[in-house]
């Protein structure tokens, strides 16, 4: 038993963080809000190897497992990375490598690793695709089938997300045989979906951490009645509760990543993934409201950066199925043998 990350994993996280500190400032995130794709960040991430990290080494990647990337995506949340990093790395590339034809892989994988191509994903659970405008390829689940559709062949109907950086759109396409990745991809899809959920949970943890950090800093410097508001117990207790939720959500996400990288598909694994999401989202929702309340009016402005993370939590947390759906996955394990309930 050793429930901690390795030194290598920590080092990779630190390198990623360093790039984000430089290339993913709140100003850059706001740039993405105005429609500027985060090109310079994407390029740097390619140089670091992050974009291809989930591909095997022969395919030009780093051969990283869910356990290796979970902290990377946590950091991505902390910096509100305005790019399809999770979809591209955690979901799309493993699917393409697993299911794609040699021709498809030859066409897309090298460009995905080098940063020339961005790949998005859409599951049946969600009507929308994020970061639509900058995608080159879309991996789409339709029923039991999986397609890899060139973005230029999709019809796009842009939607404005609460979180403008998400660049949301509805994609439609007339399925073509040569785009088909798999006829019956239920197992691969479900594995990919679980990866997407762990990635989402990790990002929510990072988003929560950033909101907590911002709020702690703020209540230390904001004075009212002659004292920092962080000295009042009502404020302290709310932040203690936020930390409590965050710290108990973390191990669930890390465990789910560990199980994904080592375990075989099972209802237990599904339940673990869903628990990760439930607790991460609970922490994020609790924190977002606490952050807004404790910042007061300044937090309620468009100008103040807090909204970049609050809106990420609100916008991204409800995709990849509802909490109720995830609770039922846990219930099917917790209440196993209980019959229809």
């Amino acid at each position: 038993m050793h429930f901690a990350f390795s030194e290598d994993q920590e080092l990779f996280r630190a390198s990623f963080k360093e790039v984000c500190e430089r290339e993913c400032t709140p100003d850059r995130v706001r740039g993405a809000w105005r429609g500027a794709a985060a090109d310079s960040l994407w390029k740097q991430l390619a140089e670091l190897g992050v974009l291809g990290m989930t591909l095997s080494e022969p395919a030009g990647g780093l051969g990283m497992s869910e356990l290796d990337w979970v902290m990377i995506l946590e950091e991505a949340g902390r910096f509100a990375v305005p790019a399809p990093l999770a979809a591209h790395t955690a979901v799309a590339l493993p699917l393409l490598e697993e299911l794609g034809s040699d021709a498809l892989k030859a066409e897309w994988l090298p460009r995905a690793v080098s940063g020339e191509a961005r790949i998005g994903v859409t599951f049946e659970a969600d009507p929308f695709v994020t970061h639509a405008a900058e995608l080159d390829l879309l991996v789409a689940e339709r029923g039991r089938k999986l397609y890899a559709v060139p973005a230029k062949d999709c019809a796009w109907e842009p939607q404005r997300s609460l979180d403008h950086a998400r660049q949301l759109a509805r994609a439609s396409f007339e399925p073509r045989a040569d785009w088909l990745l798999a006829e019956n991809a239920a197992d691969s899809s479900s594995r990919a979906f679980n990866r997407a959920v762990v990635a989402q949970s990790a990002e929510l943890l990072g988003v929560t951490q950033r909101m907590l950090d911002l709020t702690v800093e703020y209540v230390k410097i904001r004075h009212q009645f002659g004292k920092p508001i962080g000295s009042y117990q009502a404020v302290k207790h709310r932040l203690a509760d936020a930390l409590l939720r965050l710290e108990f959500a973390k191990p669930l996400t890390y465990r789910a990543a560990h199980s994904l990288s080592s375990g075989r598909p099972s209802t237990e694994l599904d339940a673990q993934v869903s628990m990760a999401r439930l607790y991460a989202r609970d922490a994020a929702e609790f924190m977002a409201k606490a952050a807004l309340q404790l910042h007061g009016a300044i937090g309620y402005t468009f100008e103040y950066d807090l909204q970049l993370w609050m809106k990420r939590a609100w916008a991204s947390g409800r995709s990849l199925h509802s909490d109720a759906w995830h609770r039922e996955r846990v219930a099917s394990v917790a209440f196993a043998g209980l019959g229809a309930s």
Binding site: M1, S231, K236, L244, F248, Y254, H258, Y279, V330
Partner: protein
């Protein structure tokens, strides 16, 4: 990362499980907070000691097995899963012993630890005073120097199971000039000593689980000072953090409670399927209890990994305490809601479900957010010492 126990650890689990299956008393021992129930629990604890299961993590020379923290967690999981009796000796074993290991002299270790492990010498804590609860450092009980030792005077209260124990451990003011945290000393005090008066106090559930201890010039020899004179606060803090943190509340306990809750839900659903269908909210609360117990287990595994990698758990232990104490209340409350009109039926009554243990457990759980530092204080600790918010 490795989330499996080793084959050796799993062997240990099997050994513990087999022993418990053969030895855990079949019937209830009654409440460990009544005189008769306490005596029966002590007999059980002696049996545990004979099998060297009373203090598995202690070194062998004091009656333990030198078990690792992982093995201790495994032991606890199996212990509670087997429905074994609650540990009435825990205040000594989990609160005082860690302090003796850290601050005690060799003579104290040799004299005190083995009888404690053997449930021959029974210990209660003597922290609180009538005017000093959360603000423990304001305590007034004092000790003044005399030949070969100290004369202690004052009043201690809420001493858990104090009426049935042999000694208390607690803080007394040894320097009347010094303020608050300074000038306190950690004493071990025999309840049989002249000058001690004990008065039992019934808890919320009616059991004599508390005692008040009055001290009038009670002589305590020098050898019963733990840690240095006037160093009591630092010495005591070592035990309070183990009370809040890992030691007293291993995940096994809550995993077992969650399993029992699911079992109760199963029976409830069978008995009254329409009510079960009509209350999906209750079903979700049962599920939450299950998930929380698992979350607590994972959090603990992470904490233990940190400790074994040379880290320490400081103020973070307050997060631990907040989580388990509030989870425990919620879990039992859910059980009472499942029981509906049967919830109020106390143990021993003909219609009591699970012999009233959920009601008993609920009342016990309600004490969790109060003892070992109230949860209000814990939230202050988290905010000030983990998040770094200003005290004033």
């Amino acid at each position: 990362m490795d989330l499996e126990f080793t084959p050796r650890e799993e062997d240990f689990r099997e050994e513990v499980r087999a022993w418990l299956a053969a030895n855990v008393p079949k019937g209830s021992l009654g409440s460990g907070d009544t005189r008769e129930g306490f005596a029966r629990h002590v007999e059980w604890e002696k049996q545990l000691y004979e099998a060297r299961y009373s203090v598995v993590s202690w070194p062998e020379e004091f009656g333990g097995r030198g078990a690792s923290l992982w093995e201790w967690l495994i032991f606890e999981e199996e212990y509670y899963r087997a429905g074994a009796p609650s540990r009435v000796t825990q205040n000594g074993i989990f609160l005082l012993a860690p302090t003796i290991f850290e601050f005690g002299t060799e003579e104290q270790k040799q004299r005190l630890l083995r009888p404690m492990a053997a449930a021959e010498h029974l210990w209660a804590q003597g922290w609180s005073e009538p005017g000093s609860g959360s603000d423990l450092a304001s305590l007034k009980s004092s000790a003044r120097r005399t030949d070969g030792g100290w004369l202690l005077s004052g009043q201690k209260t809420w001493c858990t199971r104090g009426s049935f124990c042999d000694s208390i451990f607690g803080l007394f003011r040894t320097d009347s000039e010094a303020q608050r945290h300074h000038g306190l000393t950690y004493f071990l005090v025999s309840l049989k000593a002249p000058g001690v008066t004990l008065r039992g106090v019934d808890r919320l559930d009616g059991d004599e689980g508390f005692a008040e201890v009055f001290l009038e010039d009670v002589f305590v020899p020098d050898r019963d000072v733990l840690g240095g004179v006037n160093q009591g606060w630092q010495v005591a803090m070592a035990t309070t953090s183990s009370e809040r943190g890992l030691s007293l509340r291993s995940p096994g306990r809550f995993l077992a409670t969650a399993e029992r809750l699911i079992d109760l839900y199963r029976r409830y659903q069978k008995q009254d399927p329409s009510a079960a269908r009509q209350d999906p909210a209750l079903r979700m609360r049962v599920l939450q209890a299950y998930m929380d117990a698992e979350a607590y287990q994972l959090y603990t595994l992470r904490t233990v990994t940190k400790m074994l990698s040379g880290g320490s758990i400081g103020p973070e232990s307050s997060l631990n305490k907040l989580f388990w104490s509030e989870m425990d209340v919620a879990t039992h409350e859910t059980a009472l809601d499942l029981l509906g009109p049967y919830a109020e039926v106390e143990e021993g009554s003909p219609s009591a479900v699970d012999d009233g243990s959920w009601l008993k457990g609920y009342q016990f759980a309600l004490a969790g957010p109060i003892y070992a530092g109230t949860n209000e204080i814990q939230r202050n600790v988290v905010a000030e010492r983990v998040l770094g918010l200003p005290r004033k």
